[in-house]
Symmetry: C2
């Protein structure tokens, strides 16, 4: 009797112990997911959301701030940027086509102009319903509109068959990298600092990021000689380097490349047989000079004297654009596209199959891609308001960038390049020795330590340079300049002064 | 001089030859992408789109049909299913919040009821703007609404923290599988036939699909003994089987599992330490009996006498739902969710990081998830229309399923299970020997051959059984019953008669 009881208890115990061993634990899951790092939405972002929730519940009375400022992520409409009216009017009509039975009401009582109504009708004809799957590559008529835009922008033809619509540029990068990477020996040249999507995606694919450093002292420009030596070193080590990523305008740097710089990269890529991945999502966020596309530079090189032996003819270029950035700021709609030129048809077929497994990009997002690339033209009914809204957003961004830049220039130990483009500044911070020691004591990187102290003191969330990469021995942080007003800038200045005093 | 010229020419030639060697070709890209198969949007689908384009251009006069019927893919709104008015009214208001300044006009002239307006206001409060990124996991208030829905459906609590919104269930499967799979030794039990997302995703992750066969003769039910022997065989071969996929109601089978069947699967999973991935996207497409969720069965087992030693306490279950199917049919909006219970917190943190790299699911899609799980209630202003539309779609689907089923039953050599659920029928076709030989001659699988002949003769696109898997020596095809009318059904019947006559 006693024996039986013991046995049952033992069985029960061992069963119980076993049952607590789940199938999955941190030590047996995909190691490449574990290796991936994405600081933009990491520890600091999560803590800032906790502060925000606390304040919303009225529980944050002890906190030394009364609002949280999310300067960690390029999310304009979370920070009070208003959507462009024309875009959203069109979106509301494709969402509820029954409204189109009341054009009179729309126009007389609700502020819709005839061109918004016509555009919605056209898009509905193209997609049938925004609730229907489109072709995996995106609706043909919308891709055609994108091709027309590229043609107008660059002065060179573009083909709708080469356009792939996607759920934001991130999804495009994922598709391209997934096909490019063939395991641990594959390398992709990635700028440092970089938007961590690139290194994270390479980690997930168990491929290697081959870092090349941008020139901070010359507005974060691309140093082709540095790229060449990084490439050589990697190849000497047996890495099969196949592609190079360039982010222009730069994230996190805020730099903007000129045509010569871009052509030098293309030349290198042609000589070294590298696919060029041109992340051009900030192409309208340019404050100094003007944006030049990789596609345009490539076509110029292909038509130029330097194209000896057709060396540029088969260069593989994928250029990405998005509705999340620029004056559009429609991040939540998850829309974008990439154009592929020079790719082998069999490779393209594999990219097509890859994207078809995820069915299609969001169709309303596709519609917003269409209105972004084909906005109201001068003389059309919605043009004046569109222009006014667009310019207003642009000027606000530029003014805030300048305000922040000036503040940084005056801060002790801070050095910052002037804002040329994108939505970010990426200043160097020189911290006192005592601060470095305090960080070390807490087991943190000094830039992580600084950003955490800033968040705890001011409610402002920025991202440490370690999340993007930086030269050994340097420290940075990235901040957007999207948050409205300038009050928060003075919060940073005040914090910085106190921080320096404390650790000097 | 002559020597120099020769050298230059040689250099130029070799440069030219080299330049045609692009960086990427079919032999050096990711082999796992090449291995992935996704027939639903494969060769036949592409050919059918070419026919459609031909007809649209008026160039199809020689074709033996005047319209293309896409019965290959569950895409209701491409096939004239109308969206539910309440859902789209809410969507139009969140897209254009300026409309909310004209409630009077909305209600008096445009058919909006007060509850649609209130819902849009609530959602805008929750997400701020549909153009803003939400939390990577989805907007908290929408996740809460999903948790409430699950609680009402199952009679057991659900926690918003366990809900992950996603860009359709496919994105959810991708996230879960990406974390579960640790290279070539990982195996996941997958039903045969299956929706090819599962095998394609496992191919991409270089992991193994471990097939288990469904019982065609008993309405495609799940045979637990068959699963157990498939599992044993795989483990004996060194495969680390960690998870089991169940699709209920079934895709492509059209079967629907009862609670006993589900509990038997859970019991197996608990004994064998398997994560259960329950694909429940067709949970409202049930024509016989009623839908029972895996979550509900799990909670019953956990609270029951059989839970000796807590053997069910740590079972890891992820259940997926979508806005693409059911009476909602909003595929193009890319929305869905998965609920994870029993997972280790460290594993969940890795899933969170994984989804954060892609930023967030489309926010309008999140809003449609919310209205799907929280539709107008009896007594509310929009209820009557909602009910009428919902029931109308349901009845149409059921009637068309029955019409198709009857047609199949009368076709020579065709055997079909009665339609219990989902949007598909998956009949067996017994083809004459001569047809098998004709297929072989063309280097095709017999079911591919049959479906291609059907497309060429009738313009109807269905998917061969080889795209989903079938027992050795059997042949099937999958068709949706979404296309309106019944004329196309008689096109199939007529084709089938001629095909059999030709090859008898």
């Amino acid at each position: 009797m006693s024996t039986t009881t013991t046995t049952t208890t033992q069985q029960s115990r061992s069963f119980s112990a076993m049952s607590k061993q789940r199938s999955l634990n941190i030590n047996n899951i995909n190691p490449h997911v574990k290796e991936a790092k994405y600081a933009v939405r990491g520890e600091l972002a999560i803590k800032s959301e906790q502060y925000r929730a606390q304040l919303a519940k009225g529980e944050g009375k002890d906190l030394p701030f009364d609002s949280v400022i999310s300067a960690n992520i390029g999310n304009p409409q979370q920070l009070d940027q208003q959507p462009i009216t024309f875009f959203r009017q069109v979106a509301s009509l494709v969402e509820n086509p029954l409204l189109l039975e009341h054009e009179d009401v729309l126009q007389k009582s609700l502020g819709y102009k005839s061109d918004a109504i016509e555009r919605a009708k056209k898009l509905l004809k193209d997609v049938k319903s925004v609730g229907a799957y489109s072709q995996s590559q995106g609706a043909p008529a919308i891709r055609k509109s994108v091709a027309n835009f590229i043609e107008r922008r660059d002065g060179h033809p573009a083909d709708a068959d080469n356009i792939y619509l996607c759920a934001g540029a991130s999804a495009g990068v994922n598709a391209l990298m997934s096909v490019i990477c063939d395991g641990p020996s594959t390398g992709v040249l990635v700028p440092i600092p970089q938007y961590p999507l690139y290194t994270a995606t390479l980690s997930l694919l168990n491929a290697q990021a081959v870092p090349y450093y941008l020139n901070e002292e010359s507005q974060w420009s691309t140093d082709v000689e540095g790229m060449r030596s990084a490439l050589k070193k990697a190849r000497d080590n047996g890495v099969d380097v196949r592609a190079v990523v360039v982010i222009n305008p730069g994230n996190p740097t805020g730099g903007s490349l000129d045509a010569d710089n871009i052509k030098a990269v293309i030349q290198l890529a042609a000589e070294e047989k590298l696919v060029v991945l041109a992340d051009e999502v900030y192409q309208t966020n340019v404050f100094e000079g003007e944006f030049t596309s990789f596609k345009k530079c490539l076509r110029e090189l292909q038509g130029g004297k330097d194209n000896e032996g057709g060396k540029y003819d088969h260069l593989e270029l994928a250029s990405l654009h998005s509705i999340s950035k620029g004056m559009v700021g429609e991040c939540g709609h998850r829309g974008g596209y990439y154009e592929m030129v020079g790719f082998d048809a069999e490779v393209v077929a594999q990219i097509y199959k890859f994207v078809s497994i995820m069915l299609c990009p969001p169709v309303v997002g596709q519609c917003i891609v269409e209105v972004m690339v084909n906005p109201p033209k001068e003389g059309e009914p919605s043009y004046d308001l569109y222009r006014k809204e667009y310019d207003g957003i642009f000027n606000n961004l530029q003014n805030r960038a300048q305000a922040l830049y000036k503040a940084f220039k005056e801060m002790e130990g801070v050095e910052c390049q002037s804002p040329q483009g994108s939505m970010y500044l990426y200043p160097t911070i020189n911290l006192p020795q005592k601060a470095l020691e305090a960080a070390k004591k807490e087991g943190k990187n000094p830039d992580d330590f600084y950003c955490l102290e800033l968040l705890d003191a001011t409610g402002i969330c920025i991202v440490p340079g370690s999340g993007f990469g930086q030269k050994e021995g340097t420290l940075h942080f990235r901040t957007t300049f999207l948050a409205p007003g300038t009050e928060w800038v003075s919060r940073i200045t005040a914090f910085h002064g106190k921080f320096m005093d404390k650790y000097r």
